[in-house]
Symmetry: C2
Subunit: 143 residues, 2 copies
Amino acid sequence: MHEKYMREALKEAQLAFDKGEVPVGAVVVHGGRIIARAHNLTETLNDATAHAEMQAITSAANCIGSKYLIYSVLYVTVEMCPMCAGACYWSQVGEVVYGAADPKRGYSLLKENLLHPKTKVTSGILAEECRELMTEFFRRKRH
Amino acid sequence: MHEKYMREALKEAQLAFDKGEVPVGAVVVHGGRIIARAHNLTETLNDATAHAEMQAITSAANCIGSKYLIYSVLYVTVEMCPMCAGACYWSQVGEVVYGAADPKRGYSLLKENLLHPKTKVTSGILAEECRELMTEFFRRKRH
């Protein structure tokens, strides 16, 4: 089940990749339905806050008419940064499922847990594919 | 000088207060000019990410046409949470000036510094007025 939705997040990451954006994608699932899809748009929008997760959280809250996402699952291809983990905290998202770890800016590198204590976390879903897209992006950038 | 701009951030906080929003206000100053103003709108927008700082950063980047705010100063009435500190990191804002400390969710409570290493921080500007607005808001909420 997690893989099915992570594939959808990966499709979003691919859209980011195709636009020259750092390839991170996210979807939010609520009651078995995808209620939000987003990909990183920091370059396109000239906005450092336009991470896939931020947009997906805003969009999902708008869809269900509540700023709390306690019954929703956020799928994201790469581990959240502190900003996005903070957004997960405020929205009290029920579960976060991420693919690849982020060894540079991942929220889990911090000593404190930035997420809401009730938020469940699952990691490593389709991790290789999620990471490969990032690796390929930065490899091309360097050449 | 800091007080002058903090008064403008306080005006924004008052707007939030009048709407029943947690009263936090922010302005971004660039070259001596206010290029963005915002106040907390999490209830109005049904969006847990709609903190004053997030909106101000997005708006300022839009104004100057760059996602980096290295020559800008963010004034905010209450200390940033980890989400907003993370947004400051990504936008590399030149300086952050805040009023009241946030003893519950302030970013400075964390062991790691979430801000960009080049970001200068000044705190305590009009702290009492900034705090008083918060105290009054939560006092009324309880009654």
